[in-house]
């Protein structure tokens, strides 16, 4: 199993380590509930060094990405990023990722840990068929690059002390707190270049810091020291999963796979059908016009029941109940105190208020389709 530059730090902090996407990662330090609520009410720091970083540079980098990804990179200003997807010819999702435009002709893709090799291979294959490939270079930096996410309403109280001063690239700001959602800036840490983005995977305000492996431990320690007085806690993958489930952010392997399209997953706003040809476009355009055979829905348990878990069967209600799907993500919501989940169902069962039954250890528990997300941060 692979280890991040923070492996020894996690051990020292009492993190419980598990396998995730080929990496040995902390699932929790104290408890998922405790870490989840710290992020909602104060702040949490996550090791996300397992994630992949792919760098593209050159005049043809933008046009190539517009062929390979669903969103329109021409919309990105320098120092800005957006959520996007990489699809196969069938419109199925190869990966979901963030694409940042660092400089006019430089892009950084942040991809899922479990998909790094597949993504690079898939990008490479499309590269072969891309006419402008002499006009850009593609490099996988994943092996030498780490990242840390700092998330929660109190983060702006201390982040500047770790990264003081104006940006040196990307979005021009006098201090990192001036970054707006989805903006990214190059800042110095111990005299070396790091990238700081106003992004995250928790539904809270926060930053993601992308830096060379050798800086990661020092960044983690400094952010933790500055944030502790404000309630900042180390948080593991367990809390990361419950936080993202409450805001209905997809997790590759659960909501997304190569046989599921962004339209079915409700991610149509990240598919720019108007930008011209791109991989998967014809299938996605057809789905947008003609509709889909399955839709991702959010549901909550209405009675006191065990929490729904991935793969539990889902049944329709009424006189002739049928098995209509299975849970793809499910947990007890620490914020709401009830069982919540996500599932693909036929469109006729996707309307808000539709009653479903979740099969939990051969008994049926009642659930109700609700509008997404389960949780929205207060303004």
């Amino acid at each position: 199993m692979k280890r991040t530059p923070l492996f020894a730090t996690h051990q020292k902090l009492g993190g419980k380590l598990i396998e995730f996407g080929g990496w040995e990662m902390p699932v929790q330090y104290t408890s998922i509930m405790d870490e989840h609520l710290a992020v909602r009410k104060a702040a949490g720091i996550f090791d996300i060094s397992h994630m992949g970083e792919v760098y593209l540079d050159g005049p043809q980098a933008g046009p190539f990405l517009n062929q390979a990804l669903t969103n329109d990179v021409r919309k990105l200003l320098v120092g800005q990023g957006h959520y996007t997807l990489m699809c196969n010819e069938r419109g199925g999702v190869v990966d979901d990722l963030y694409a940042y435009r660092l400089e006019p002709e430089e892009y950084l893709l942040v991809v899922n840990a479990s998909r790094i090799e597949g993504d690079v291979a898939w990008l490479g294959k499309q590269w072969e068929g891309f006419k402008g490939r002499s006009g850009a270079v593609l490099r996988d930096l994943s092996g030498a690059t780490g990242a840390v996410a700092v998330q929660g309403p109190r983060v702006t109280d201390f982040i500047e002390r770790c990264f003081p001063g104006a940006s040196a690239g990307g979005t021009a700001v006098r201090c990192v707190k001036e970054l707006k959602k989805n903006q990214i800036a190059r800042v110095k840490f111990e005299g070396k270049d790091t990238w700081l983005a106003r992004t995250g995977y928790t539904g809270e305000d926060g930053f993601e810091i992308i830096a060379p492996d050798e800086l990661i431990e020092s960044i983690w320690n400094q952010v933790l020291a500055e944030g502790r007085p404000y309630g900042l806690k180390p948080a593991g993958l367990g809390a990361r999963d419950t936080l993202r489930t409450e805001v209905c952010y997809p997790l590759y392997g659960h909501e997304l796979d190569e046989d599921t399209t962004p339209i079915e997953a409700g991610l149509g706003m990240f598919v720019a059908l108007d930008k011209g040809e791109f991989t998967g476009r014809s299938v996605l355009a057809k789905q947008k016009t003609n509709g889909v055979g399955k839709k991702l829905v959010a549901f909550k348990m209405t009675d006191k029941s065990a929490p729904p878990r991935p793969h539990y069967p889902i049944w329709s209600t009424g006189s002739n109940p049928a098995r209509i799907g299975e849970v793809v993500s499910g947990t007890q919501s620490p914020t709401l105190g009830i069982g919540i989940g996500l599932s693909y169902v036929p469109p006729e069962f996707a309307g808000s208020g539709t009653r479903l039954e979740i099969e939990i250890r051969s008994k049926h528990a009642v659930a109700q389709v609700v509008s997404k997300p389960f949780y929205r941060k207060p303004d």
């Binding site: 509930m33 065990a306 878990r309």
Partner: protein, 128 residues
């Protein structure tokens, strides 16, 4: 260090047994609740159900996972703890008292002899 009352018997699968006459009360150990962390749901057997030692007869769920509880002894369920079904956090806060799971009328008291004492159980879980 996890608490281990000296008057209880312990099973390898982290349940405790308190014996009173021919009735045993079953719960999970302080070590087990600490490993599970926040318990959010407890599923208990039906009263009247007959079970054999080693049967999975209850489920305890944390935020992350569902875990089976195995009965350390055979017998008939005569009472379940409704309070713990209502407030599962009792498993974390009072594992040996108000966090008990069920009471069982013993059909084979000799099974108690193969359970561990506190020192033996402590040795199994280490110093954690």
């Amino acid at each position: 260090m996890a608490k281990l009352p000296s008057d209880l018997k312990y099973a390898k699968s982290h349940e405790w047994v308190r014996v009173s006459g021919n009735v045993a009360t079953i719960g999970i150990t302080d070590h087990a609740q600490h490993e599970l962390t926040d318990v959010v749901f407890v599923e208990l057997p039906d009263v009247g159900k007959k079970i054999k030692a080693g049967d999975a007869c209850a489920v305890v769920e944390s935020v992350k996972t569902a875990s089976d509880i195995y009965s350390p002894v055979s017998g008939e369920i005569i009472e379940v703890n409704k309070a713990v079904a209502q407030d599962p956090a009792l498993v974390n806060s009072e594992p040996y008292t108000n966090g008990w799971f069920y009471k069982i009328k013993l059909t084979d008291p000799a099974e108690l002899n193969v359970l561990m004492g506190p020192d033996q159980y402590q040795a199994q879980i280490g110093s954690a």
